[in-house]
Amino acid sequence: MIWNWEFAAEALPILLRGFVNTLIATVVGTIIAAILGLLIAVAIRTLPRWINWLVRLLVAFIRNTPLIVQLLFVYFAFSDIPGLVNIPALAVGCIVIGIHYSTYMSESYRAGIDSVPPGQHEAATALSLPPVRTFTAVVLPQALRATIPSLGNYAVAMFKDTPFLFAISVVELVTSAKQFGGSTFAYTEAFTLAGIIFLAASYPTSLLIQRLDKRLATY
């Protein structure tokens, strides 16, 4: 086993600096995905049939094509537009990863909204609440209860997908590990530490989400 503690100690601060970008991408991406996912879920429920079909096709398309290719696509497409050359790669990454995962989250929202008993809808109609208030004050709060744990799971999945930002040269955790390895040949220490950091961040979060899931479960 080739393991050098000095290299490991040297790598750690560099990796943690990269980790900041990983966290930014995860947090901003999750916020974008959570908002956009809800909008998609509501749009699919309310829009007329032909445009609904179009939205669903687009969602399936984004869902079933690789995130890396989407990242490269948007990154290069932006760099072709003269006004947008200076847009930072990290911003592009956050937006693309957010849109990619919004297609997954919209499915969770849909399932959550469907799980609200129809009686709730009927009661709100009987009380002559306007449709918007029925949705925001009656249906959505109950739907979110069922949705939040699965949104959390997608946030963890997104966290593990942030290394793909390497493709558009964002210096996040894995990229900084690779750069450190490239300059010192201490690949073992760099990548092993990167893996440990991922595990240390994602495993407790998954356990937390599991507990949240049990706590929020209504049935």
């Binding site: 086993m1 080739i2 399936a60 398309f61 079933n64 094509t65 690789p66 995130l67 890396i68 290719v69 989407q70 490269l72 696509f73 290069f76 497409a77 072709d80 593990k160 997908d161 942030t162 290394p163 793909f164 390497f166 493709a167 894995v174 590990a177 690779k178 390895g181 690949y187 073992t188 990548f191 092993t192 990167a194 893996g195 991922f198 595990l199 994602s202 495993y203 998954s206």
Partner: protein
């Protein structure tokens, strides 16, 4: 635009090479995924702690670290430890280990959700544990796990795009070459994304076929299958027709009662 298409036509042989690399990775990765998933999944349902606990640790390890970390570990670190794999093997290995760990969880939960009566019946018939698993439990669990496996295999297809980081020339790499030779980002990437989309659709169709086959072998209907939906639609239509007939009959009834009076009013 016509320029783009002639470039694409000239580029087709190279594009096909890239597609082949992606297909090899997807197919070999899927086979590896399913083998690893079944082994680890069965180990996780084992009554012996010495099988269950290591399997759980392996699964959590590969689920918790990122695919790219695993890929780079195989590609950069293993040679330092004296194991030299070629890039294609690294790619297949990383994909199989990562998605195998996710799928192992699917296998485990499917085996756990098979009706407990089936376990009891197999024990009552004094089938050996191996035969019980192979002949009774696994076929039923298999039908349950296919939809989730389909999702994971599509994820795997999407994951194959990472291999261009380790110098493999897959579809993603070819798309970038196409982008450079046409100078049209939108065109090149649209072509590439559509190819990926079609491949994902093929995986979905294949898994649907497998699911139909698996449920048929159990003598069951697939839940919400096409024929189920057709039947439901037919029933709904029939009900609507009866409803309409009934209301028309009621209206006629009312009309015939009113009829003479109406005529009378006319007169």
């Amino acid at each position: 635009m016509t320029d783009n298409f002639t470039t694409l036509l000239n580029f087709l042989p190279q594009l096909w090479e890239g597609i082949q690399t992606t297909l090899i990775l997807t197919i070999a990765g899927s086979i590896g995924t399913i083998i690893i998933a079944v082994i680890l999944g069965l180990a996780m349902t084992s009554p012996h702690a010495w099988l269950r606990i290591p399997a759980r640790i392996i699964v959590e390890f590969f689920r918790g670290t990122s695919l790219l970390v695993q890929l780079f570990w195989l590609f950069y670190v293993l040679p330092l430890l004296g194991v030299d794999l070629d890039p294609l093997m690294c790619g297949i290995g990383a994909l199989a280990l990562n998605y195998g760990a996710y799928s192992a969880e699917v296998v485990r939960s499917s085996i756990k959700t098979v009706n407990p009566g089936q376990w009891e019946a197999a024990i009552a018939l004094s089938l050996s544990p191996t035969r019980r698993m192979i002949r009774v439990i696994f076929p039923q669990a298999w039908a349950l796990m296919i939809p989730s496996l389909a999702t994971l295999l599509i994820q795997l297809l999407k994951g194959t795009a990472v291999v261009f980081f380790i110098t493999l020339s897959d579809l993603t790499d070819k798309i970038q070459q196409l982008r450079q030779s046409t100078g049209d980002t939108v065109f090149a990437f649209t072509v590439g994304l559509v190819i990926y989309f079609v491949m994902a659709w093929l995986i979905q169709e294949l898994m649907n076929l497998l699911e139909r086959q698996a449920t048929r072998r159990l003598g069951r209907r697939r839940p919400n299958s096409r024929s189920d939906r057709r039947d439901a639609r037919r029933d709904a239509r029939e009900e609507l027709r009866l409803d309409r007939l009934k209301s028309r009959a009621a209206a006629n009834d009312g009309a015939s009662k009113l009829g003479p009076a109406g005529q009378g009013g006319g007169l």
